[in-house]
Amino acid sequence: MLDISGVSKRYPNGLLALAGLNLAVAQGEIVAIVGGSGCGKSTALRLVSGLDMPTLGSVSLDGTPVTAPREEIGLVFQEPRLMPWLTIEQNVAFGIRHLPAAEQVSRVSEALARVGLDSHAGHWPRELSGGQAQRVSLARALVGRPKVLLLDEPFSALDALTRGDLQDHLLDLWAYDRPTMILVTHDIEEALFLADRIVVMQPNPGRVRTEVVPPVARPRDRLNGEFLNWKYKLLRELDHASRPPSGDESFPAAAI
Protein backbone atom coordinates (compact mmCIF):
# COMPACT_ATOMS: atom_id res chain seq x y z
CA MET A 1 0.00 0.00 0.00
CA LEU A 2 1.32 3.42 -1.00
CA ASP A 3 0.13 6.11 1.36
CA ILE A 4 0.43 9.83 0.67
CA SER A 5 -0.67 11.65 3.76
CA GLY A 6 -1.21 15.43 4.06
CA VAL A 7 1.63 16.16 1.64
CA SER A 8 2.43 19.77 0.81
CA LYS A 9 5.39 21.19 -1.06
CA ARG A 10 6.61 24.76 -1.02
CA TYR A 11 9.67 25.52 -3.17
CA PRO A 12 12.47 27.82 -1.98
CA ASN A 13 11.15 30.58 -4.26
CA GLY A 14 7.97 30.61 -2.15
CA LEU A 15 5.74 28.83 -4.66
CA LEU A 16 3.27 26.48 -2.99
CA ALA A 17 3.13 23.72 -5.60
CA LEU A 18 1.10 21.21 -3.66
CA ALA A 19 -1.20 21.57 -0.66
CA GLY A 20 -2.50 18.78 1.52
CA LEU A 21 -2.46 15.84 -0.88
CA ASN A 22 -3.97 12.65 0.55
CA LEU A 23 -3.98 9.51 -1.54
CA ALA A 24 -3.91 5.82 -0.69
CA VAL A 25 -3.07 3.49 -3.55
CA ALA A 26 -3.60 -0.26 -3.15
CA GLN A 27 -1.07 -2.82 -4.42
CA GLY A 28 -1.61 -3.37 -8.15
CA GLU A 29 -3.95 -0.40 -8.55
CA ILE A 30 -3.50 2.05 -11.44
CA VAL A 31 -4.18 5.64 -10.46
CA ALA A 32 -4.05 8.51 -12.93
CA ILE A 33 -3.48 12.07 -11.76
CA VAL A 34 -4.84 14.60 -14.25
CA GLY A 35 -4.97 18.35 -14.27
CA GLY A 36 -3.76 21.42 -16.12
CA SER A 37 -0.31 22.99 -15.95
CA GLY A 38 0.87 24.02 -12.50
CA CYS A 39 -1.56 21.87 -10.52
CA GLY A 40 1.28 19.98 -8.83
CA LYS A 41 0.97 16.65 -10.67
CA SER A 42 4.68 16.24 -11.37
CA THR A 43 5.58 17.63 -7.95
CA ALA A 44 3.43 14.91 -6.37
CA LEU A 45 5.21 12.25 -8.38
CA ARG A 46 8.67 13.57 -7.46
CA LEU A 47 7.69 13.44 -3.79
CA VAL A 48 6.45 9.87 -4.10
CA SER A 49 9.65 8.86 -5.93
CA GLY A 50 11.82 10.27 -3.15
CA LEU A 51 13.58 12.72 -5.50
CA ASP A 52 12.15 15.63 -3.47
CA MET A 53 10.99 15.83 0.13
CA PRO A 54 7.63 17.27 1.18
CA THR A 55 7.46 20.46 3.22
CA LEU A 56 4.65 18.91 5.24
CA GLY A 57 3.16 15.43 5.40
CA SER A 58 4.65 12.08 4.50
CA VAL A 59 4.81 9.38 1.85
CA SER A 60 5.12 5.75 2.90
CA LEU A 61 5.28 2.44 1.09
CA ASP A 62 4.04 -0.58 3.07
CA GLY A 63 4.40 1.46 6.24
CA THR A 64 8.00 2.56 5.60
CA PRO A 65 8.51 6.30 4.98
CA VAL A 66 9.90 7.23 1.56
CA THR A 67 12.72 9.66 2.30
CA ALA A 68 14.92 8.92 -0.73
CA PRO A 69 14.65 6.98 -4.01
CA ARG A 70 14.06 3.29 -3.32
CA GLU A 71 14.58 0.10 -5.26
CA GLU A 72 10.87 -0.75 -5.01
CA ILE A 73 9.86 2.48 -6.76
CA GLY A 74 10.53 2.90 -10.49
CA LEU A 75 10.08 6.16 -12.37
CA VAL A 76 9.53 6.81 -16.06
CA PHE A 77 10.19 10.45 -16.94
CA GLN A 78 8.47 12.58 -19.54
CA GLU A 79 11.59 12.25 -21.74
CA PRO A 80 13.36 8.90 -22.15
CA ARG A 81 16.53 10.23 -20.44
CA LEU A 82 18.69 7.46 -21.87
CA MET A 83 22.43 7.71 -21.38
CA PRO A 84 23.66 8.50 -24.93
CA TRP A 85 27.04 6.82 -24.35
CA LEU A 86 25.46 3.47 -23.46
CA THR A 87 23.88 0.99 -25.83
CA ILE A 88 20.21 0.14 -25.38
CA GLU A 89 20.92 -2.98 -23.34
CA GLN A 90 23.45 -1.13 -21.19
CA ASN A 91 20.85 1.55 -20.55
CA VAL A 92 18.30 -1.04 -19.45
CA ALA A 93 20.88 -2.67 -17.18
CA PHE A 94 21.63 0.70 -15.58
CA GLY A 95 19.36 0.11 -12.61
CA ILE A 96 20.32 -3.50 -11.87
CA ARG A 97 24.07 -3.03 -11.65
CA HIS A 98 24.15 -4.73 -8.24
CA LEU A 99 22.94 -8.05 -9.70
CA PRO A 100 25.35 -10.76 -10.95
CA ALA A 101 26.35 -10.31 -14.60
CA ALA A 102 24.49 -13.42 -15.80
CA GLU A 103 21.26 -12.29 -14.17
CA GLN A 104 21.69 -8.81 -15.61
CA VAL A 105 21.96 -10.32 -19.09
CA SER A 106 18.87 -12.49 -18.70
CA ARG A 107 16.78 -9.72 -17.11
CA VAL A 108 17.78 -7.19 -19.77
CA SER A 109 17.00 -9.62 -22.60
CA GLU A 110 13.63 -10.35 -21.04
CA ALA A 111 12.81 -6.67 -20.49
CA LEU A 112 13.80 -5.74 -24.04
CA ALA A 113 11.78 -8.64 -25.45
CA ARG A 114 8.76 -7.48 -23.47
CA VAL A 115 8.95 -4.00 -24.99
CA GLY A 116 9.62 -5.48 -28.43
CA LEU A 117 13.13 -4.11 -28.78
CA ASP A 118 15.30 -7.20 -28.34
CA SER A 119 16.67 -6.73 -31.85
CA HIS A 120 17.89 -3.24 -30.90
CA ALA A 121 19.98 -4.33 -27.89
CA GLY A 122 23.31 -3.15 -29.32
CA HIS A 123 22.05 0.08 -30.85
CA TRP A 124 22.79 3.57 -29.58
CA PRO A 125 19.92 5.72 -28.23
CA ARG A 126 20.42 8.16 -31.13
CA GLU A 127 19.35 5.41 -33.52
CA LEU A 128 15.89 5.03 -31.96
CA SER A 129 12.63 6.84 -32.65
CA GLY A 130 10.92 8.74 -29.83
CA GLY A 131 8.50 5.88 -29.18
CA GLN A 132 11.26 3.28 -29.15
CA ALA A 133 13.35 5.37 -26.77
CA GLN A 134 10.41 5.69 -24.39
CA ARG A 135 9.89 1.92 -24.53
CA VAL A 136 13.54 1.48 -23.52
CA SER A 137 12.89 3.88 -20.67
CA LEU A 138 9.93 1.71 -19.62
CA ALA A 139 12.08 -1.42 -19.81
CA ARG A 140 14.76 0.30 -17.68
CA ALA A 141 12.18 1.17 -15.02
CA LEU A 142 10.63 -2.31 -15.03
CA VAL A 143 13.78 -4.43 -15.20
CA GLY A 144 14.31 -4.04 -11.46
CA ARG A 145 10.75 -5.35 -10.90
CA PRO A 146 9.56 -2.41 -8.79
CA LYS A 147 6.46 -2.67 -6.60
CA VAL A 148 5.47 0.86 -7.61
CA LEU A 149 5.87 2.34 -11.07
CA LEU A 150 5.53 6.10 -11.42
CA LEU A 151 4.97 7.58 -14.87
CA ASP A 152 5.35 11.32 -15.42
CA GLU A 153 3.51 12.12 -18.67
CA PRO A 154 5.55 9.39 -20.36
CA PHE A 155 3.86 9.57 -23.75
CA SER A 156 3.10 13.27 -24.01
CA ALA A 157 5.84 13.98 -26.54
CA LEU A 158 4.72 11.22 -28.91
CA ASP A 159 2.30 11.26 -31.83
CA ALA A 160 -1.25 9.98 -31.27
CA LEU A 161 -0.69 6.64 -33.01
CA THR A 162 2.50 5.81 -31.08
CA ARG A 163 0.87 7.02 -27.88
CA GLY A 164 -2.07 4.64 -28.30
CA ASP A 165 0.28 1.80 -29.12
CA LEU A 166 2.37 2.44 -26.01
CA GLN A 167 -0.70 2.70 -23.79
CA ASP A 168 -1.75 -0.80 -24.94
CA HIS A 169 1.80 -1.95 -24.36
CA LEU A 170 1.91 -0.47 -20.87
CA LEU A 171 -1.17 -2.45 -19.86
CA ASP A 172 0.45 -5.64 -21.17
CA LEU A 173 3.56 -4.88 -19.14
CA TRP A 174 1.51 -4.08 -16.05
CA ALA A 175 -0.32 -7.42 -16.37
CA TYR A 176 3.02 -9.25 -16.11
CA ASP A 177 4.06 -8.16 -12.57
CA ARG A 178 1.03 -6.01 -11.67
CA PRO A 179 2.97 -3.19 -9.99
CA THR A 180 1.09 -0.31 -8.40
CA MET A 181 1.11 2.48 -10.99
CA ILE A 182 0.65 6.20 -10.64
CA LEU A 183 0.37 7.92 -13.98
CA VAL A 184 0.55 11.68 -14.28
CA THR A 185 -0.99 12.92 -17.50
CA HIS A 186 -2.88 15.83 -19.00
CA ASP A 187 -4.52 13.47 -21.49
CA ILE A 188 -8.01 12.49 -20.24
CA GLU A 189 -8.34 9.69 -22.78
CA GLU A 190 -5.04 8.19 -21.61
CA ALA A 191 -6.12 8.38 -17.97
CA LEU A 192 -9.49 6.80 -18.73
CA PHE A 193 -7.97 4.05 -20.85
CA LEU A 194 -5.35 3.04 -18.28
CA ALA A 195 -6.52 3.88 -14.79
CA ASP A 196 -8.71 2.20 -12.20
CA ARG A 197 -9.10 5.55 -10.48
CA ILE A 198 -8.63 9.11 -11.70
CA VAL A 199 -7.61 11.97 -9.42
CA VAL A 200 -8.46 15.39 -10.84
CA MET A 201 -6.25 18.19 -9.51
CA GLN A 202 -6.61 21.94 -9.60
CA PRO A 203 -3.94 24.66 -9.40
CA ASN A 204 -3.06 27.62 -7.13
CA PRO A 205 -2.11 25.81 -5.01
CA GLY A 206 -2.06 22.29 -6.45
CA ARG A 207 -4.65 20.14 -4.68
CA VAL A 208 -7.18 17.38 -5.33
CA ARG A 209 -10.48 18.56 -6.77
CA THR A 210 -12.17 15.21 -7.08
CA GLU A 211 -11.56 11.48 -7.48
CA VAL A 212 -13.39 9.37 -10.02
CA VAL A 213 -13.65 5.60 -10.43
CA PRO A 214 -14.89 5.21 -13.99
CA PRO A 215 -17.22 2.20 -14.23
CA VAL A 216 -15.92 1.26 -17.66
CA ALA A 217 -15.24 -2.43 -18.14
CA ARG A 218 -11.80 -3.68 -19.23
CA PRO A 219 -10.49 -4.10 -21.83
CA ARG A 220 -11.50 -0.55 -22.63
CA ASP A 221 -12.38 0.55 -26.11
CA ARG A 222 -11.58 4.19 -26.85
CA LEU A 223 -14.54 4.38 -29.27
CA ASN A 224 -17.06 2.77 -26.95
CA GLY A 225 -20.04 5.03 -26.05
CA GLU A 226 -19.60 4.64 -22.30
CA PHE A 227 -15.89 5.43 -22.61
CA LEU A 228 -16.62 8.56 -24.63
CA ASN A 229 -19.34 9.60 -22.21
CA TRP A 230 -16.87 9.43 -19.30
CA LYS A 231 -14.26 11.20 -21.34
CA TYR A 232 -16.56 14.21 -21.81
CA LYS A 233 -17.58 14.18 -18.11
CA LEU A 234 -13.91 14.28 -17.11
CA LEU A 235 -13.12 16.97 -19.65
CA ARG A 236 -15.86 19.14 -18.11
CA GLU A 237 -14.44 18.44 -14.64
CA LEU A 238 -10.97 19.38 -15.83
CA ASP A 239 -12.33 22.54 -17.38
CA HIS A 240 -13.90 23.52 -14.04
CA ALA A 241 -10.70 22.62 -12.22
CA SER A 242 -8.60 24.91 -14.40
CA ARG A 243 -10.82 27.99 -13.80
CA PRO A 244 -9.67 30.53 -11.20
CA PRO A 245 -11.25 29.73 -7.79
CA SER A 246 -14.18 31.81 -6.54
CA GLY A 247 -13.86 33.54 -3.16
CA ASP A 248 -15.30 30.70 -1.08
CA GLU A 249 -12.99 28.14 -2.76
CA SER A 250 -9.78 30.02 -1.95
CA PHE A 251 -7.19 27.93 -0.14
CA PRO A 252 -5.52 28.95 3.15
CA ALA A 253 -2.02 28.56 1.74
CA ALA A 254 -0.33 30.82 4.29
CA ALA A 255 -0.43 28.01 6.84
CA ILE A 256 2.12 25.93 4.87
Binding site: P69, R81, A101, V105
Partner: protein, 275 residues
Protein backbone atom coordinates in the same frame (compact mmCIF):
# COMPACT_ATOMS: atom_id res chain seq x y z
CA UNK B 1 27.66 -3.80 -16.06
CA UNK B 2 28.26 -2.39 -19.52
CA UNK B 3 31.08 -4.64 -20.64
CA UNK B 4 29.44 -7.79 -19.35
CA UNK B 5 26.19 -6.93 -21.04
CA UNK B 6 27.84 -6.04 -24.35
CA UNK B 7 30.17 -9.02 -24.45
CA UNK B 8 27.68 -11.56 -23.16
CA UNK B 9 25.14 -10.61 -25.77
CA UNK B 10 27.76 -10.56 -28.53
CA UNK B 11 26.53 -7.24 -29.78
CA UNK B 12 27.97 -6.12 -33.09
CA UNK B 13 28.64 -2.49 -33.83
CA UNK B 14 25.63 -0.81 -35.33
CA UNK B 15 26.19 0.17 -38.98
CA UNK B 16 26.14 3.88 -38.21
CA UNK B 17 28.97 3.62 -35.72
CA UNK B 18 31.51 1.63 -37.72
CA UNK B 19 34.85 3.36 -38.02
CA UNK B 20 35.28 5.20 -41.27
CA UNK B 21 37.89 3.81 -43.67
CA UNK B 22 40.93 5.96 -44.39
CA UNK B 23 40.40 7.44 -47.84
CA UNK B 24 43.49 9.54 -48.36
CA UNK B 25 41.70 12.86 -47.85
CA UNK B 26 43.95 13.53 -44.86
CA UNK B 27 46.83 14.01 -47.30
CA UNK B 28 45.42 17.45 -48.08
CA UNK B 29 46.75 18.54 -44.69
CA UNK B 30 50.28 18.34 -46.13
CA UNK B 31 49.51 20.85 -48.86
CA UNK B 32 50.10 23.99 -46.78
CA UNK B 33 53.40 22.99 -45.09
CA UNK B 34 54.78 21.63 -48.37
CA UNK B 35 53.79 24.83 -50.17
CA UNK B 36 55.42 27.01 -47.48
CA UNK B 37 58.58 24.87 -47.51
CA UNK B 38 58.85 25.15 -51.29
CA UNK B 39 58.26 28.90 -51.19
CA UNK B 40 60.91 29.22 -48.48
CA UNK B 41 63.36 27.09 -50.46
CA UNK B 42 62.68 29.15 -53.62
CA UNK B 43 63.07 32.46 -51.78
CA UNK B 44 66.55 31.47 -50.54
CA UNK B 45 67.54 29.90 -53.88
CA UNK B 46 66.66 33.10 -55.74
CA UNK B 47 68.42 35.15 -53.03
CA UNK B 48 65.24 37.03 -52.17
CA UNK B 49 66.17 36.28 -48.55
CA UNK B 50 69.45 35.22 -46.97
CA UNK B 51 69.83 31.61 -45.89
CA UNK B 52 72.39 32.00 -43.11
CA UNK B 53 70.07 32.77 -40.22
CA UNK B 54 67.07 31.16 -41.90
CA UNK B 55 68.26 27.83 -43.29
CA UNK B 56 66.28 26.24 -46.09
CA UNK B 57 64.00 23.25 -45.46
CA UNK B 58 66.43 21.04 -47.36
CA UNK B 59 69.22 22.09 -45.00
CA UNK B 60 67.03 21.44 -41.97
CA UNK B 61 66.16 18.01 -43.36
CA UNK B 62 69.82 17.26 -43.98
CA UNK B 63 70.59 18.27 -40.39
CA UNK B 64 67.83 15.98 -39.11
CA UNK B 65 69.15 13.12 -41.26
CA UNK B 66 72.66 13.72 -39.95
CA UNK B 67 71.47 13.73 -36.33
CA UNK B 68 69.43 10.59 -36.97
CA UNK B 69 72.32 8.73 -38.60
CA UNK B 70 74.53 9.39 -35.62
CA UNK B 71 71.82 8.11 -33.26
CA UNK B 72 71.81 11.48 -31.51
CA UNK B 73 68.30 12.42 -32.65
CA UNK B 74 66.74 9.23 -31.33
CA UNK B 75 68.34 9.76 -27.90
CA UNK B 76 67.00 13.31 -27.73
CA UNK B 77 63.55 12.27 -28.95
CA UNK B 78 63.30 9.39 -26.47
CA UNK B 79 64.40 11.58 -23.55
CA UNK B 80 61.81 14.21 -24.42
CA UNK B 81 59.08 11.67 -25.10
CA UNK B 82 59.68 10.01 -21.75
CA UNK B 83 59.39 13.33 -19.90
CA UNK B 84 56.25 14.34 -21.79
CA UNK B 85 54.66 10.92 -21.24
CA UNK B 86 55.34 10.91 -17.50
CA UNK B 87 54.29 14.53 -17.05
CA UNK B 88 51.16 13.90 -19.10
CA UNK B 89 50.16 10.85 -17.06
CA UNK B 90 50.65 12.62 -13.72
CA UNK B 91 49.03 15.84 -14.94
CA UNK B 92 46.00 13.99 -16.34
CA UNK B 93 45.58 11.92 -13.16
CA UNK B 94 45.73 14.98 -10.91
CA UNK B 95 43.61 17.16 -13.22
CA UNK B 96 40.95 14.48 -13.53
CA UNK B 97 40.76 13.81 -9.81
CA UNK B 98 40.73 17.45 -8.73
CA UNK B 99 38.46 18.51 -11.61
CA UNK B 100 35.91 15.77 -10.86
CA UNK B 101 35.85 16.46 -7.13
CA UNK B 102 35.68 20.21 -7.65
CA UNK B 103 32.92 19.88 -10.25
CA UNK B 104 30.87 17.56 -8.05
CA UNK B 105 31.16 19.21 -4.63
CA UNK B 106 30.42 22.92 -4.46
CA UNK B 107 32.29 23.34 -1.17
CA UNK B 108 35.48 21.89 -2.68
CA UNK B 109 35.15 24.17 -5.69
CA UNK B 110 34.66 27.23 -3.47
CA UNK B 111 37.79 26.37 -1.49
CA UNK B 112 40.24 25.42 -4.22
CA UNK B 113 39.06 27.02 -7.44
CA UNK B 114 40.13 30.64 -6.74
CA UNK B 115 43.66 29.52 -5.82
CA UNK B 116 43.94 27.22 -8.83
CA UNK B 117 42.68 29.94 -11.16
CA UNK B 118 45.41 32.24 -9.82
CA UNK B 119 48.12 29.59 -10.15
CA UNK B 120 46.95 28.79 -13.67
CA UNK B 121 48.08 32.20 -14.89
CA UNK B 122 51.68 31.81 -13.75
CA UNK B 123 53.94 31.39 -16.82
CA UNK B 124 55.70 28.03 -17.01
CA UNK B 125 59.15 29.58 -16.99
CA UNK B 126 58.39 31.26 -13.64
CA UNK B 127 58.18 27.86 -11.96
CA UNK B 128 61.62 26.75 -13.18
CA UNK B 129 63.82 28.29 -10.43
CA UNK B 130 61.45 27.15 -7.68
CA UNK B 131 61.17 23.62 -9.01
CA UNK B 132 64.96 23.35 -9.27
CA UNK B 133 65.22 24.43 -5.63
CA UNK B 134 62.47 22.10 -4.48
CA UNK B 135 63.01 19.01 -6.62
CA UNK B 136 66.59 19.32 -7.85
CA UNK B 137 67.93 19.73 -11.37
CA UNK B 138 67.29 16.19 -12.58
CA UNK B 139 64.20 14.42 -13.90
CA UNK B 140 61.74 15.03 -11.05
CA UNK B 141 61.54 18.78 -11.50
CA UNK B 142 61.17 18.43 -15.28
CA UNK B 143 58.34 15.91 -15.05
CA UNK B 144 56.54 17.96 -12.39
CA UNK B 145 56.79 21.11 -14.51
CA UNK B 146 55.20 19.29 -17.46
CA UNK B 147 52.53 17.80 -15.19
CA UNK B 148 51.66 21.31 -13.97
CA UNK B 149 51.18 22.41 -17.58
CA UNK B 150 48.96 19.42 -18.35
CA UNK B 151 46.99 19.70 -15.10
CA UNK B 152 45.29 23.05 -15.65
CA UNK B 153 43.42 22.49 -18.95
CA UNK B 154 42.21 19.10 -17.68
CA UNK B 155 41.06 20.54 -14.35
CA UNK B 156 39.40 23.56 -15.93
CA UNK B 157 37.59 21.64 -18.67
CA UNK B 158 36.41 18.81 -16.44
CA UNK B 159 35.17 20.86 -13.51
CA UNK B 160 33.36 23.21 -15.92
CA UNK B 161 31.91 20.39 -18.01
CA UNK B 162 30.54 18.61 -14.94
CA UNK B 163 28.57 21.73 -14.06
CA UNK B 164 27.09 21.61 -17.55
CA UNK B 165 25.90 17.99 -17.40
CA UNK B 166 22.16 17.65 -17.98
CA UNK B 167 20.41 17.63 -14.59
CA UNK B 168 17.90 15.16 -15.98
CA UNK B 169 20.57 12.49 -16.47
CA UNK B 170 21.80 13.04 -12.92
CA UNK B 171 18.23 12.50 -11.69
CA UNK B 172 18.23 9.10 -13.38
CA UNK B 173 21.30 8.25 -11.30
CA UNK B 174 19.51 9.46 -8.18
CA UNK B 175 16.47 7.29 -8.95
CA UNK B 176 18.79 4.30 -9.20
CA UNK B 177 20.44 5.26 -5.88
CA UNK B 178 23.93 5.88 -7.26
CA UNK B 179 26.63 6.60 -4.70
CA UNK B 180 28.79 9.72 -5.14
CA UNK B 181 31.50 7.60 -6.73
CA UNK B 182 29.02 5.96 -9.13
CA UNK B 183 27.50 9.31 -9.98
CA UNK B 184 30.95 10.63 -10.96
CA UNK B 185 32.24 7.55 -12.77
CA UNK B 186 29.03 6.32 -14.43
CA UNK B 187 27.26 9.56 -15.33
CA UNK B 188 29.33 12.71 -14.95
CA UNK B 189 32.61 11.53 -16.47
CA UNK B 190 31.01 9.76 -19.46
CA UNK B 191 28.73 12.75 -20.05
CA UNK B 192 31.74 15.07 -20.12
CA UNK B 193 33.86 12.76 -22.26
CA UNK B 194 33.79 14.91 -25.44
CA UNK B 195 35.00 17.99 -23.50
CA UNK B 196 37.44 15.84 -21.54
CA UNK B 197 39.06 14.50 -24.69
CA UNK B 198 39.48 18.01 -26.07
CA UNK B 199 41.07 18.91 -22.72
CA UNK B 200 43.43 15.91 -22.98
CA UNK B 201 44.57 17.09 -26.39
CA UNK B 202 44.95 20.62 -25.13
CA UNK B 203 46.87 19.34 -22.08
CA UNK B 204 49.15 17.27 -24.29
CA UNK B 205 49.88 20.35 -26.40
CA UNK B 206 50.81 22.27 -23.26
CA UNK B 207 52.92 19.32 -22.17
CA UNK B 208 54.98 19.72 -25.34
CA UNK B 209 55.33 23.44 -24.64
CA UNK B 210 56.34 22.92 -21.02
CA UNK B 211 58.93 20.28 -21.89
CA UNK B 212 61.00 22.96 -23.60
CA UNK B 213 61.02 25.02 -20.40
CA UNK B 214 61.75 21.83 -18.45
CA UNK B 215 64.71 20.94 -20.66
CA UNK B 216 66.17 24.40 -20.15
CA UNK B 217 66.72 23.25 -16.54
CA UNK B 218 70.17 21.78 -17.04
CA UNK B 219 69.15 18.87 -19.25
CA UNK B 220 71.85 16.86 -20.99
CA UNK B 221 69.47 15.27 -23.46
CA UNK B 222 66.19 16.09 -25.11
CA UNK B 223 64.95 18.22 -27.95
CA UNK B 224 64.86 21.27 -25.68
CA UNK B 225 68.52 20.69 -24.90
CA UNK B 226 69.23 20.33 -28.64
CA UNK B 227 67.49 23.66 -29.21
CA UNK B 228 69.61 25.45 -26.57
CA UNK B 229 72.72 23.72 -27.87
CA UNK B 230 71.95 24.96 -31.39
CA UNK B 231 71.58 28.50 -30.08
CA UNK B 232 74.78 28.42 -28.00
CA UNK B 233 76.84 26.97 -30.84
CA UNK B 234 75.35 29.28 -33.48
CA UNK B 235 73.70 26.53 -35.56
CA UNK B 236 70.27 27.76 -36.69
CA UNK B 237 69.70 24.54 -38.68
CA UNK B 238 69.94 22.54 -35.45
CA UNK B 239 67.48 24.92 -33.76
CA UNK B 240 65.03 24.49 -36.64
CA UNK B 241 65.62 20.72 -36.69
CA UNK B 242 64.66 20.65 -33.01
CA UNK B 243 61.59 22.83 -33.59
CA UNK B 244 60.56 20.66 -36.55
CA UNK B 245 60.93 17.54 -34.39
CA UNK B 246 58.70 19.12 -31.72
CA UNK B 247 56.09 19.91 -34.36
CA UNK B 248 56.17 16.39 -35.84
CA UNK B 249 56.09 14.64 -32.45
CA UNK B 250 53.36 16.96 -31.16
CA UNK B 251 51.23 16.28 -34.23
CA UNK B 252 51.83 12.51 -34.08
CA UNK B 253 50.97 12.21 -30.39
CA UNK B 254 47.89 14.39 -30.84
CA UNK B 255 46.81 12.20 -33.77
CA UNK B 256 47.39 9.09 -31.67
CA UNK B 257 45.34 10.51 -28.80
CA UNK B 258 42.53 11.64 -31.12
CA UNK B 259 42.46 8.21 -32.81
CA UNK B 260 42.39 6.32 -29.53
CA UNK B 261 39.72 8.54 -28.04
CA UNK B 262 37.54 8.48 -31.17
CA UNK B 263 36.39 4.96 -30.41
CA UNK B 264 34.95 6.14 -27.09
CA UNK B 265 32.84 8.77 -28.82
CA UNK B 266 31.07 6.56 -31.34
CA UNK B 267 27.81 7.24 -29.54
CA UNK B 268 27.90 10.94 -30.38
CA UNK B 269 25.28 12.30 -32.73
CA UNK B 270 27.10 15.48 -33.55
CA UNK B 271 27.24 17.86 -36.47
CA UNK B 272 28.88 16.43 -39.59
CA UNK B 273 30.76 19.28 -41.28
CA UNK B 274 30.25 19.81 -45.00
CA UNK B 275 32.99 18.53 -47.35
Amino acid sequence: MSTEIASAAGVPDAPAVRASRPDGKWLIGFALPVFLALAWELAVATQMVGGRLLPTPSKVIMTLVGLAQGGELLDHVLATLRRVALGFVFGVAAGTLVGAVSGYWTIVRRVIDPSLQALRNIPSIAWVPMFILWFGIFETSKVILIAVGVFFPIYLALSGAILGVDRKLVEVGRIFRFSHREMITRILLPATLPSYIIALRSGLGLGWMFVVAAEFMGAEQGLGFLLVDGQQTGRPAVILASITSFAILGKLTDWLLASLSGRFLKWQDGFKPAE
